[in-house]
Subunit: 147 residues, 4 copies
């Protein structure tokens, strides 16, 4: 990036999530199956901030499927909480992307997560990001690709 | 129908539904948005009992979309309840089908519902059930079609 | 109310809803069971605009349960659509409230809905809104109560 | 366990899960947020096979909260698939339990998962399984507790 020709890529992005009543379980806590949904919102908005809508990937018959998911739950989120989710791209290659996530209520860390997504075509087989998208997302610019 | 040439069509079918933890809200009640999901299970199994899998309709590029939904909630269902859902075909024409639903915990009626589905093609436009499917489902056999 | 002592009550409120990937079904349409979740967001935010958080009702052991739900689906919503939901209080009495809902994508009406909620206490039995809340929500001010 | 006084504890249990239409996303695949829901069904039924209903734990103000979740997705599950989920108790101590999960369509492994649950009381603080429950679940019988 020394020469400055590479567009500025946002590697991290914050969104606010208001907990829905339907997401809360009998304990009054957000059900753990909702956190992966939040993470998906986070990486979608990170992508959008970088100028790409996930719907446009799909229009090009490119789909990110989740290959791996990890969550550590530190403290419960509750109904109507206004949470902050920080999503960060940990690593991008033409065929996969790793994100990590941290969910907060004010300064309290509630949950940490990590996903690995693999890019597939309409047939479900792994494929590579076209160069234009890979450049926009700055994959090669940021790190050596050692996949 | 006196001459017996019409295949026996099941117009009603019961299934058991065990309430999942993730379906219950902070009051300990099944969230009202889960009942339409239960209804969908009910009509899918009614269809299957009549020899048709909904996935096979989709393989023929036929899709039932919900045009109307009504529910009356009489009493709450709770976590781990073993519920009985009775699904009945109220009316079938080549382009739409009306179902009604009654959900019970033992003899107690918890919820009543009704849906209208419209058959569409891949383009989202209304279409008609092919004759073979319409005959299997016994639409014309059962009632005059006055759509 | 001509004397102006009654606080201005918002009877209608708009929110934006961005369709989540997890809400879309195999047709690419928002699953019909998600619309009641949207309606709940709408009436929660209408309440908040009037100065009441639903969580504060629950803290006073007051709960609104859904007694009736109706939806008419006009056209499908799709992934990533930025929808506008208009929620209106149709009628408020001390024990129940009727809302109606209209969901739009730009100027196109996608879905209309209506709910009846009944106020219950911790024991699940119907109860009445305390006077302070009823006044804030302007129930008696707006319409004769003919329950 | 040589003397036979310890009740036979099932450490593993299989259930069948039929994929619901509402669980499938626009790719026709089960959304990844549904797998944690399946896992919860699996461990609930494993518990039931051992003579304990999770609802009875809650009646005693004992709650298992998810502290850690991991999933590896090998191949997509699809609408209407009849899946087999194998749930196994990996380790039980008075305060936590680790499960692992394998989800199959016929002989094909679709997903592997693992969870750690922590037992808490009504106040959300970690607590210990009462002796009667711990014995039923055979925790001490099976492995040294080295928590």
């Amino acid at each position: 990036m020394e020469d400055g020709r590479v567009p500025q890529v946002l590697e991290s992005h914050d969104i606010e999530i208001r907990v829905r009543y339907s997401e809360v379980d009998a304990m009054g806590y957000v059900h753990h199956s909702c956190y992966p949904v939040y993470f998906e919102l986070g990486r979608t908005e990170l992508l959008r901030q970088n100028g790409i809508r996930y719907r446009d990937l799909e229009a090009r018959e490119l789909y990110y499927v989740v290959a791996r998911l990890e969550c550590r739950f530190r403290a419960p989120a509750r109904y109507d909480d206004a949470l902050k989710l920080t999503t960060r791209t940990e690593r991008l290659t033409p065929v996969r992307v790793d994100h990590d996530y941290r969910l907060f209520r004010e300064s309290q860390l509630l949950c940490e997560g990590r996903t690995t997504l693999v890019l597939v075509g309409r047939d479900g087989r792994p494929t590579e990001l076209p160069d234009d998208l890979f450049e926009i997302l700055g994959g090669s610019a940021r790190r050596p690709v050692v996949e």
